[in-house]
Symmetry: C2
Subunit: 352 residues, 2 copies
Amino acid sequence: MSRQPAVPFTPRLSSSFPARPLNVAVLGASGAVGQELLLLLEERNFPVAELKLLASARSAGSTQQWNGRTITLEEVNAAAFEGVDLVLASAGGSVSRQWRDAITAAGAVMVDNSSAFRMEEGVPLVVPEVNPDAALAHNGVIANPNCTTILLTLALAPLAARRPMRRVVVSTYQSASGAGARAMEELKTLSQTVLDGGTPQGEVLPYSLAFNLFLHNSPLQANSYCEEEMKMVNETRKIMDLPDLRFTATCVRVPVLRAHSEAVNIEFEQPFPVEEARSLLSAAPGVELIEDPATNRFPMPTDVTGRDPVAVGRIRQDISDPNALELWLCGDQIRKGAALNAVQLAELLLPS
Amino acid sequence: MSRQPAVPFTPRLSSSFPARPLNVAVLGASGAVGQELLLLLEERNFPVAELKLLASARSAGSTQQWNGRTITLEEVNAAAFEGVDLVLASAGGSVSRQWRDAITAAGAVMVDNSSAFRMEEGVPLVVPEVNPDAALAHNGVIANPNCTTILLTLALAPLAARRPMRRVVVSTYQSASGAGARAMEELKTLSQTVLDGGTPQGEVLPYSLAFNLFLHNSPLQANSYCEEEMKMVNETRKIMDLPDLRFTATCVRVPVLRAHSEAVNIEFEQPFPVEEARSLLSAAPGVELIEDPATNRFPMPTDVTGRDPVAVGRIRQDISDPNALELWLCGDQIRKGAALNAVQLAELLLPS
């Protein structure tokens, strides 16, 4: 086992990181998002001095290769955050809630992938291409938005910046990865069961996704929207700073492995020429246009799997409303929908 | 080979069938819909005297079991329709166009599953639960609507009958069966390829549907809607006799075998209480409610596969518009979306 010596702890006095390689801790490294976080820290040459992988007692002691180093998972406890500059947390809301105070008390910045603090006043909820300035106003915690929301706001923001948006109606096509690595495995296993003529039985997800689909299984709220749908509504409003945006969503899980798709109907206060929308989106950061009407070629999950950009296409005038546009998008749920956005958030705090 | 003797030909003088067992011909019996038609004629005790299976020269001569009979496929030609009362056509638009005149000249009623005549003036486009009376006004041809449209109108009609509908926004989740039996086989084969670590290559469909999805691959129209989407728009208006209904759709193929799903946002001219909508839909013919908010149990493709009703659920007040409702539905594409509706159309013409 090779470990870098810990960098001596210096309390941060600004919202940005100090100008030196950082001590980084990842909470939940073994999950689908955690694994992608490790990959991205390496790929993007994030300035890492020490990398700590923090896990439950059960997982502590196992090892993980990273950037030529062999790192042993440590059990998470308050002392583990001493000297850490950045904590990338993706072990779920309850773990994030449990360790937030210890993390901020240690002076680390927590970039949290859970929904625990997203709607909390004073916690920036940030998509770097959309509201980067919000990140610097943090008090130790920056929240990484819901995956479907991140992908959607990349397409909505450039349009909303041009003309006031009145109402958004979204239907999602969400991959198994949104429920974690085990759900992805289950989709593969149960698909094999169906192909072999058997009867699939969902365990990680409540029903089998194999050649099947179902409305998102997060708990229903009093208004009959599921939690996932209300995350989209509330988080989109917060990120885009449009607290009164009229927004409705239907969230659906589909038998796709790791990329989400969304059918988006956007009503504006006035007509929005399609060519202007296309031009804005083709220049928008984090967005890639895939549009070839002649060959009927528009974004597909397989176009974005393992890739950074959100693919947008089929931008068209809504024939039912002169003020509305329709568009379609796909994005890698684990990457831009989670891990990439989290690492980009941390990058916003690097000294320039 | 056992064949029933042909019933002597008597020209029909009314739009209804004569009060005797009918001579029925099926055009396109070997396809996914054709096979389901045969099943339904048997299951529903449709009054069949002779059953002719008409096919291209290539398929003629092969045999098919039906209701205890062995039937030899005959090559389709004009003479084949002599003495036939009912032709169930599901061999595609060009075949339907080719034989329409011969069929009607022979005095048979053509129930056509293709899109060839759906929007033609004087051709009734009928969903028996929605506009049964239209069927009797035929001039020899009754058109069976597009699958997504049939499923949708079953849910829209009971609501539109109560309060004026202003605008509908639909996103579909369409199964492989919509592209025929070969597309279903391809989905299975390519899913196995992916599970075995290979690279799937679509041939029946333009791209692989295995753990993937894409916008419906029907040709794009000048307005940037694909043909499938415009079928939904135009056919829904015709069936519901709402020529000015504002309607937009995004049609998507998903890796499901034979049931379509739809996320439907409906704006009315005034508020529509959810409980009233639920009560109307629970009493609507052809509709089954699947709604258990406590266990998050709503319609799934596997609920309706091989079954007659359209399953509707998750009826909720749209939080973005006081006059709008959201709902979700699933229906078997081959059955109610095609073959069952066609047989029900023919049943409308049986003497009571």
